[in-house]
Symmetry: D2
Subunit: 352 residues, 4 copies
Amino acid sequence: MVKVKIIGAGGFGGTGMIELLMAHPEAKLVKLIDIENAGKPISAEFGHLAGLCDMVITAPDADDPNDGADVVFCATPDRVGMSIGPKYVKAGLRVIDYSGDFRFGDVETYAGYAGRIGKDPKHLSPELLPKSTYGLAEVNRERIKSATVVGNPGCFAVSCILGFMPAVKAGVVDFGSLIADAKTGVSGAGKKASATFHYPMRYDNMNAYKVAAHQHSYEVNRQLSLKAGKDINVCLITQVVPVCRGIMTTCYAKVDSGMADVAKLVKLYRDTYAGEPFVRVIGPEGSTSNAAVRGSNFCNLWVNFDKATGQMVVVSHIDNLMKGQAGNALQNMNIMFGIKETAGLMSVPQFP
Amino acid sequence: MVKVKIIGAGGFGGTGMIELLMAHPEAKLVKLIDIENAGKPISAEFGHLAGLCDMVITAPDADDPNDGADVVFCATPDRVGMSIGPKYVKAGLRVIDYSGDFRFGDVETYAGYAGRIGKDPKHLSPELLPKSTYGLAEVNRERIKSATVVGNPGCFAVSCILGFMPAVKAGVVDFGSLIADAKTGVSGAGKKASATFHYPMRYDNMNAYKVAAHQHSYEVNRQLSLKAGKDINVCLITQVVPVCRGIMTTCYAKVDSGMADVAKLVKLYRDTYAGEPFVRVIGPEGSTSNAAVRGSNFCNLWVNFDKATGQMVVVSHIDNLMKGQAGNALQNMNIMFGIKETAGLMSVPQFP
Amino acid sequence: MVKVKIIGAGGFGGTGMIELLMAHPEAKLVKLIDIENAGKPISAEFGHLAGLCDMVITAPDADDPNDGADVVFCATPDRVGMSIGPKYVKAGLRVIDYSGDFRFGDVETYAGYAGRIGKDPKHLSPELLPKSTYGLAEVNRERIKSATVVGNPGCFAVSCILGFMPAVKAGVVDFGSLIADAKTGVSGAGKKASATFHYPMRYDNMNAYKVAAHQHSYEVNRQLSLKAGKDINVCLITQVVPVCRGIMTTCYAKVDSGMADVAKLVKLYRDTYAGEPFVRVIGPEGSTSNAAVRGSNFCNLWVNFDKATGQMVVVSHIDNLMKGQAGNALQNMNIMFGIKETAGLMSVPQFP
Amino acid sequence: MVKVKIIGAGGFGGTGMIELLMAHPEAKLVKLIDIENAGKPISAEFGHLAGLCDMVITAPDADDPNDGADVVFCATPDRVGMSIGPKYVKAGLRVIDYSGDFRFGDVETYAGYAGRIGKDPKHLSPELLPKSTYGLAEVNRERIKSATVVGNPGCFAVSCILGFMPAVKAGVVDFGSLIADAKTGVSGAGKKASATFHYPMRYDNMNAYKVAAHQHSYEVNRQLSLKAGKDINVCLITQVVPVCRGIMTTCYAKVDSGMADVAKLVKLYRDTYAGEPFVRVIGPEGSTSNAAVRGSNFCNLWVNFDKATGQMVVVSHIDNLMKGQAGNALQNMNIMFGIKETAGLMSVPQFP
């Protein structure tokens, strides 16, 4: 039984992990840590947990890293995981961090990312970077197995990387033509209220934001470049729609003439993801939607090709709080601890 | 392992049961039956089930009642369960019916209900009525244990009966003053599209309907009258709000002077529901919401008292597709088969 | 041409008035005043006004009461209108205040209300109270004509008072049995973001709040008592549903035996509101919804009677930002200045 | 006073026109025609019109083309306008058709379009085509002035054409790189209920459909090709999001090196649309949203440039029922009759 702590338990990413762990056959939640509501049961704020998980929240300072846990999820903002990570690693725990802190492997690359988000470029625990890796199993499974620290990817990044990776890895598209038109549900912005996400402002509304400036493009470019063996820049445009859970990213790329055939593209995607438990490739004759992934750890990829323009069009759907966050983080934990990769992740979501 | 069939598998009530059974430790889904899409996997229509439940749908005529199943859920409209129930009972199965067919125990009472909904008053399987009972454990657990056929209650009825029952049973309110102001989510109307529930007509909209004429009032009156030992009529007003899952029923009653004290009312409710695994009583100092029950089998009852007017105000929340339908039906199955009553029903729902 | 100032122009109540005034044939907006965004055009924050109203916001201190305006709308929170009202009255303007400051006519009654909302019970401009009145034309038209200061009613109060008034005035219901079950859209809470109204918390959610403690019940009781000629307490229960604009209040009262006939009740309501331009009475054979009033100044009253329980059930619909706020305030202005009461208020709203 | 008939009055496109005409200073609605609900007031179905427009619906057969009207709007599906158009033209009326019937100018081009939508390729009133034109003022104002018949454009087409036109006309982008990623609200699908747009299926959902096969791409390609002077194919991907009103199309194109500067692009867009009353160009320092155009006839264009990839990114927002349908149709009428182009179209919409 893997013993698990969650830091930042009171955010959407933390409660999402609680929901999953309650049903996990080989993991056990041992501590909930948060800077808010210490001393109160988590269910005092999240009524849906009442009677199901009433564990009392511990303040960060009051937590003892040496109390026997195996892994800690840092469901925390940028620069928290790198501050507290070392003491947990020292105590023998493995760390899965939700922020950008451990997504980049070396201090130089991190500094570039940090600049992009307006943060101090200096990494606070550089000694952990060599033991860390990028936590997206579909591109990096082997390194996750042995990593001490895993940087769980950004939600947009998951949808983009999975949408483009087969074509990029195979080198069958014009690397200068990649566009990711991403639409996210509002839960991606987290629990904190803001004018932008006030119900009257958001219902029946939609807008683009951070045009060509979203921080997740940094890791998308990096991961795709590693697969391509050369530098790639994706034009990532992020938009908000009045959905709570879900990201739909439409991935465009000019296809090389030799692959200008939808059947070939579908085969390429199916072959690339053969054996992947959480990727479902759908051909042009099918269809899919956010409802098909909402609540689950699946990524649905609907592969299409527009003959008239030579564009591959892959519509990539994930639940931003699952494959885009807590679900993917749990998948990483399973891999790190040699548990069946799908353990705790095959519950049937509810519809409608 | 209880072997389960679902008839009407392709409706919300049927898929809701599939979702639950996939996680049930002591039940196993053996057949999905529906008049539509026979021969296709259920996941062809419900994409969220792909890879989790891809069972092929059987046509009703093609089903053999004698193939060894233990129980059949009739997630079907009025008058279907009473038509097909006898052949399953004959084959030794127990039947849990979602419609009004088996909620009334005798042909006379059924005839009254049928008239209310504009149906033929003649019951088609009167021989089953003596072996049938009303399937709401909180009022009727003992009879459910041994029943051959269970009439699963209407969603509004569950919220009203649980909201009023303690006060009515204790006889501490004016029986002539009961009002149930019920607001339902749209999923209560089922999967079939209609002008009323077309997205552009329904978003940002709300309305009352069937004012003082909803068919569920029939069973509410009957169950509360049985508890009171005298005839009770509740003024039940049903309204639709742009929520998908959920019923919030505000229950009003004039309280007798001896109980005109919120602490006494809260105690009465807590005592009445002591030991009930799915009822959570909340005092006036607390609060609750649809989010606290959405996706779960819980009924949350927020007990209040308005001194100025002498009204008890109990706000009753359920998920209409869970405690109001599939969840409650599974609770009945657990009781009927001697399984732990909460088996398969304590999964943590997702929020938000 | 009536020259109009709006204080608190940047809230929903202020922009709602701007929207209306732009189409008013006999009024002209001369100044927008707000503590936020002074010096910027109102359209910088509210993009829908760009090119239609780009008036620059004036800071409160920078406004000269003596610059020739005729009326000022205080679209401001409690205790602002009573602070700044005197200087505008002194300058010869008439004042229409959106808060509770001028709804109660005398300092004692105000003190009771202020206590209810946790405010200082001392009124800051008692000298204005004799010149003030309650601004709901359907109950108080004559006094509005000559009032210097009008207290625009609360949104819940409008829906309740219009829903009950005919029956109460005629004395045909049990005054001890009045219940108002009110459901409001989220815009009623204003523009300020809060956890409760954060999109992910509010979509697919609903809840009761301030049970039997909403401040609007104070003015409902007062106005109905004045009509009844005796003290009345209504049990007002307020609830939030995921609608942006709209209030649906279901009004219950036990009907005297002589009026226990829906045709009589409908006639009473029709007679009472004969000639009222903004009240539409609908009989039990009809139906109505929020969509029928959204965007307009109408109040729709669907009059029903439940024979089995003797309850009158009047479903009262308004747009909380129109008849519940800016629209009603403009109606008051029209009355005060001898303009046709419907001027600027008969625009056709958009649907869907 | 222009006398106006509306055929197909009971759809969203018809009622949208009613809403607009009620506030038009120089046009008068004289007849509402529809195949449904003849003999009933339009307000019987659309409650928001009660008391504002209660005109009785006339059956199509009962309408006399020679009763003195000046213009008829055919708010009807494909192939209706071309069937009934000739008799109205013969009677001296001008025709504004909402469908694809008159968008293509000659029978060959129409046949291509008709094949695309699975309709009979034979045009039914070819004699009208020389007198017809494409009704988008921003690209075709002069021809609209004198046209007898105007083909009002498709909603997606409006958003795409306005988004791309300046860059295409100026020839500063790679014509082989154009991608239009379009997200529409549900009202675009019209009033008829369907499983896809049933509230429980649509809330919290989103999906792409008709990938690279939407019929509107046909007119987008045609209009842009006319401006470019050479054949252009846009990769148009259409998606539905849970918004009622609104289209947001993100327009991508590789910019020529000489224009690889956002200031130049913004200038090009501002210059091209200088004097256009309904196009608002926003630079990269600004932002916009669906809320800024909802309810109005404006098209907002947010012009951006992604240096890293050389992509121009223009986010194009319209209200699909206004600039995408009824509003644009009324703009055409104003132009055809020499009325001020903005007449009846500058009402301030309501927010939120």
